[in-house]
């Protein structure tokens, strides 16, 4: 059996990669995918811990993460689509009406 720590390290690596993507990229969609990557890394941790602890709770968590991710994705993509719609005529590159 593969020790749980290997899974956890893999999960940490994926989480870090996702975080890096979320911080690095400027394209909203890729940032968004990076965040999903982070969620998946967390799922891996949950499942690995579940096996380590011999406890189903961790697996159930994945279910909830999936639901939340689904809701987030729907809303997030809707936001992106709507933002795109209002400025389809103008340059998409500058979403900087807000300072910061």
């Amino acid at each position: 059996m593969i020790p749980s720590i290997d899974y956890l390290l893999l999960s940490a690596a994926l989480f870090s990669i996702g975080a890096a993507g979320a911080l690095l990229r400027r394209n909203a969609l890729i940032v968004f995918i990076s965040i999903e990557l982070m969620l998946n890394a967390v799922n891996l941790s949950f499942v690995a811990f579940a096996r380590q602890l011999g406890d189903m709770t961790g697996q159930v968590y994945v279910f909830f993460v999936l639901v939340v991710a689904a809701a987030e994705v729907v809303v997030g993509l809707a936001i992106i689509v709507s933002i795109y719609r209002t400025r389809a005529s103008v340059d998409v590159d500058d979403a900087d009406n807000l300072r910061g």
Binding site: A22, F32, S45, F49, D55, S82
Partner: protein
């Protein structure tokens, strides 16, 4: 699922049913009757408040250890329902003016309230997480509710991306805590941590939880979204978000950090110091950056960041345990109520001034006192309260928090000193608003959009709240302390 479970959940249930009801009714109401939605929502919130008041049997492990129904959750539910009710009263007029009055607005506002309530009464990290999402996702949508305005959409996008990011971080924290302890039930966690020594895993998990909630609470350095989102979102949403998101985040912080994690241990002093640093940074940055803001919504954003700092002081010092933890907890509760009144009140006045989604600058307030003395007086009152000057709610809120801090030894002393000094700084920008209201001749005569009796009533409630909490705070103090007796051993 038993009857007592259902009783414990009854306020939340009412809010949920209300949200669905509003959504369905929206389909059948002609546009000119949309105001009914707001009235029905208010009525429902009232019912939820009554239900909340009627819950007498504490049930700390309802729904198989998912929901805690105790004095603290009762208090939180009260505050959150109050926030929702006041926001509704304040915003219905504004929404009509902006052409945003749609049934979904109310439904989303109510679900967001539901999320915050769940956070404040969660007994399991999973519920904290789900509450967080139920609070946040409607807020993302509401931020972008003014679809024609690109600022609103940008706010929505920014809020969404950072919020989702923080959710992921929070979730990872849950995973690590789960891995370290084998449970996510807060009571079990607290029990287990009492006996075992803290592993690095647990510390990392707690840290990530803190980061995740720090985002929601807009604590420095996780605050970067707040000014932009506050500025871009429709003002009625900003008002609601400024208070509700904070209440939810601190509800969760209270449940997780102040109640579940152990106090008076190595772990406690670790996270106490960590939160203390965050609190200090938040107070300093929030107040100093607010100094240079000329846009009122941005100023309010930084002000709300600053207030998060004061609230974090309470969280930080609670790590000291014992009496301090009790004081800290009740001071946090008191502060949130005071914050609710003054922030919603201030935004309420801004809502009266805004016509069509334009941002208000300080200059727009110039000379308002001569034309609209009551609105100006109310605004001045809220500003004075936010600055923490007596005899207002803000004074006793800060007084209480600093009291808790000073009972906690050196860290608390440092935090209290930073707190009072930054309060002095904050006087500058809050009273600058008063200066513009009362002492500057009007550049342009801005009209006030004659408010409905609802908005007026909400402002009166907020003003009374600020004054009553500032002059006769004892009953609320008693309430917040009664909350403790049930929770602390």
């Amino acid at each position: 699922m038993t009857t007592s479970d259902l009783i414990a959940l009854s306020p939340e249930l009412i809010v949920t049913v209300l949200a669905l009801l509003v959504l369905v009714l929206d389909l059948f109401l002609p546009p000119e009757r949309k105001a009914w939605l707001s009235r029905i929502s208010l009525l429902g919130l009232l019912a939820a408040l009554v239900a909340n008041a009627l819950i007498h049997e504490p049930n700390p492990q309802a729904w198989q250890g998912m929901l805690a129904s105790d004095a603290i959750s009762g208090y939180f539910n009260f505050v959150m329902l109050l926030i929702a009710a006041l926001s509704l009263m304040l915003s219905s007029d504004y929404l009509q003016r902006q052409g945003l009055e749609r049934g979904e607005y109310y439904a989303l506002l109510l679900t967001s309230t539901l999320g915050a309530m769940l956070m404040g009464s969660s007994a399991d990290l999973l519920m904290v997480f789900l509450g967080l999402e139920t609070l946040s996702i409607p807020l993302y949508i509401l931020s972008g509710f003014a679809r024609g305005q690109s600022r609103s959409q940008e706010a929505s996008l920014k809020y969404f991306l950072l919020g989702a990011f923080s959710s992921a971080v929070f979730l990872y924290g849950i995973a690590l805590v789960y891995g370290a302890t084998g449970t996510t039930n807060l009571a079990a966690l607290s029990q287990q941590l009492g006996t075992m020594s803290a592993s690095p895993l647990l510390l990392a998990g707690a840290g990530l939880l803190l980061v995740g909630l720090g985002f929601k609470a807009a604590a420095v350095p996780f605050h970067t979204w707040a000014p932009d989102v506050y500025e871009g979102a429709p003002t009625s949403v900003t008002a609601f978000m400024a208070v509700m998101a904070k209440a939810g985040a601190f509800g969760a912080l209270l449940r997780v950090f102040m109640l579940a994690l152990p106090q008076q241990s190595q772990l406690a002093s670790d996270w106490g110091l960590l939160v203390g640093v965050l609190a200090a940074l938040t107070m300093i940055l929030g107040n100093f950056v607010a100094l240079v803001q000329l846009d009122l919504k941005r100023m309010m954003a930084y002000s709300s960041i600053a207030h998060a700092g004061y609230l974090l002081v309470a969280v930080a010092v609670s790590a000291a345990g014992g009496e301090t933890a009790g004081l800290a907890t009740s001071s946090l509760l008191f502060y949130l109520l005071a914050y609710t009144f003054m922030t919603l009140g201030a935004f309420g006045v801004l809502l009266l001034l805004e016509r069509q989604g334009e941002n208000l600058a300080l200059n727009d307030l110039a000379g308002l006192a001569l034309r609209h003395p009551l609105a100006s007086a109310a605004m001045a009152l809220f500003m004075i309260s936010m600055a923490g000057l007596p005899p207002t709610a803000g004074f006793f809120a800060k007084f209480y928090v600093f009291s808790a801090a000073l009972s906690a030894g050196n860290l608390g002393l440092v935090l209290a000193l930073i707190g009072v000094l930054t309060s002095v700084v904050s006087v500058y920008y809050y009273l600058r608003v008063v200066y513009y209201l009362y002492m500057r001749p009007a550049a342009v005569e801005r009209p006030i959009y004659a408010s409905s009796s609802w908005a007026t009533a909400a402002l009166v409630i907020a003003a009374l709240g600020v004054l009553v909490l500032g002059i006769l705070p004892a009953p609320v103090f008693a309430w917040t302390q009664q909350a403790l007796a049930l929770v602390l051993p």
